[in-house]
Symmetry: C2
DNA sequence: CGAAAGGTTGAATCGATTCAATAAACGTGG
DNA sequence: CCACGTTTATTGAATCGATTCAACCTTTCG
């Protein structure tokens, strides 16, 4: 039974019943592998022979395009699965940002497991959905958000994904260059924007000079600045009425 | 058996054995539905109760973000499947650009078919892969390509997807605004860029004044200008090591 | 025909980039 | 442990590409 799920790298999904443990079962017997900072897990174009689970650390997922420009399409953290293939080849490279620990599963085994385990499919499904949604969001961000909106979006999502609710301290494992390449900006613009947000009192630094650890002072304000209009903007009442209802 | 495949809209894949007919079987008995120009197929947030196959015409797939800005994430043509869901809801809206014909299949039926038909899975798999790859490409485009590179990329891909090999005439069903919202530009920039390419002799218009029909005069030149570096740039052997991490 | 929609073009503006200089943190070896 | 070079980050000034605002033109269609 062919398996289609290992197409994309999949983020740790929004919390759900027992997906994690379900997935963990797949990898529990695999030996751990250690990656030093900067070490590559695989390269774009490599034969996609394995699916990986991140146990610890943070990785960047990126493509190098002509002119040496780098585009980071996502970051991977503990719990994330990456085992992307298109026609058997990885669509991008992945490398460790921090010292990391991963487990590896041969694609054949992964396929077999998904084929035979009914309970596994919805878990993978959810991750593919999340991945697709993330790609959509990223396209929106890159299409039409300002530098400030991009950075705020990044911080809000990072806060939601990588800290417990209520926590307002972000330890960024990635450099400004990583952030820039992820947000479609330059390091200078990222730096300036961080400074601007700090001056506005929206965020601050735990330790002056150690600017990798950020404290969000005004989470609500930060959310406002994402440009996602989570707040109810007053729209003309007839907007919905004007939209033609689905027909047939 | 839960089915994960209807997560994303899937483009007509690069040519392959019998995928189309395989998919067609699914829809062959469904009645056709007609959409007028501008008519919506579904809205972002709607219950994703159906999967659609485009029989004829072109549709745009988009999200409206705060401030009324619109981001088009893709176009759909004959043969494409769209049946997107995340947690049961469409991630975006879809509406007809030209008068279009679609077929509809209840998601339950679609799921059942994919579950029971072994031959169908790889076909759907290939489409999900294509969709993911397209999303990646779009992120690269939006992250770091100039207006000219974006337009050339769009035209090259359109040529490849929607015409027979060797054909150099493009009839664009979408407006400049559609193109702009797809490429993350303004209509003015799209217009200017088209004019600039025409002045360079890279493309021309079939009929003066009818600027929806474009003839590509220099396909090779167009490909060069996509910024994808498909051409082998002479790089020293240890290219990855030497490439300076150029900023943007 | 005349209005509306879509498209082009010009001039001014703006946000982000580029270039450049400085500063702070890190890692290595003495 | 400190010195010193390397990497990473910040900040300023000039520049550039795309946007915005505005005018005008073309095609479409009631």
């Amino acid at each position: 039974m062919a398996n289609p799920y290992n197409t994309v790298h999949t983020h740790k999904p929004t919390p759900h019943a027992n997906g994690a443990s379900c997935l963990d079962r797949l990898f529990v017997k695999q030996p751990v592998e250690h990656l030093a900072s900067g070490q590559s897990l695989f390269f774009e174009g490599d034969d996609a022979k394995h699916v990986f689970q991140v146990v610890e650390g943070t990785l960047r997922v990126f493509r190098i395009i002509s002119g040496g420009r780098r585009v980071i399409t996502g970051f991977l953290d503990a719990g994330d699965i990456v085992g992307v293939s298109l026609r058997g080849r990885y669509l991008y490279s992945a490398e460790a940002i921090t010292p990391s620990v991963v487990k590896r599963l041969a694609r054949r085994q992964f396929d077999a497991a998904v084929a035979s385990d009914e309970g596994l499919r919805p878990v993978i499904f959810a991750r593919v959905c999340d991945e697709m949604a993330a790609a959509q969001d990223q396209m929106v961000l890159l299409s039409s958000k300002s530098a400030e909106e991009r950075l705020c979006t990044f911080l809000v999502k990072y806060l939601r994904r990588n800290t417990v609710p209520g926590c307002t301290i972000i330890e960024l494992p990635m450099t400004r260059l990583d952030i820039a390449d992820y947000l479609g900006l330059t390091i200078e613009t990222v730096s300036r924007t961080v400074t601007k947000l700090a001056n506005k009192g929206i965020l601050g630094f735990e330790n002056p000079g150690l600017r990798h650890t950020i404290r969000i002072e005004r989470p609500g304000m930060l959310a406002q600045l994402t440009g996602d209009g989570d707040d109810h903007e007053d729209l003309p009442g007839d907007l919905l009425a004007l939209r033609e209802p689905r027909r047939h």
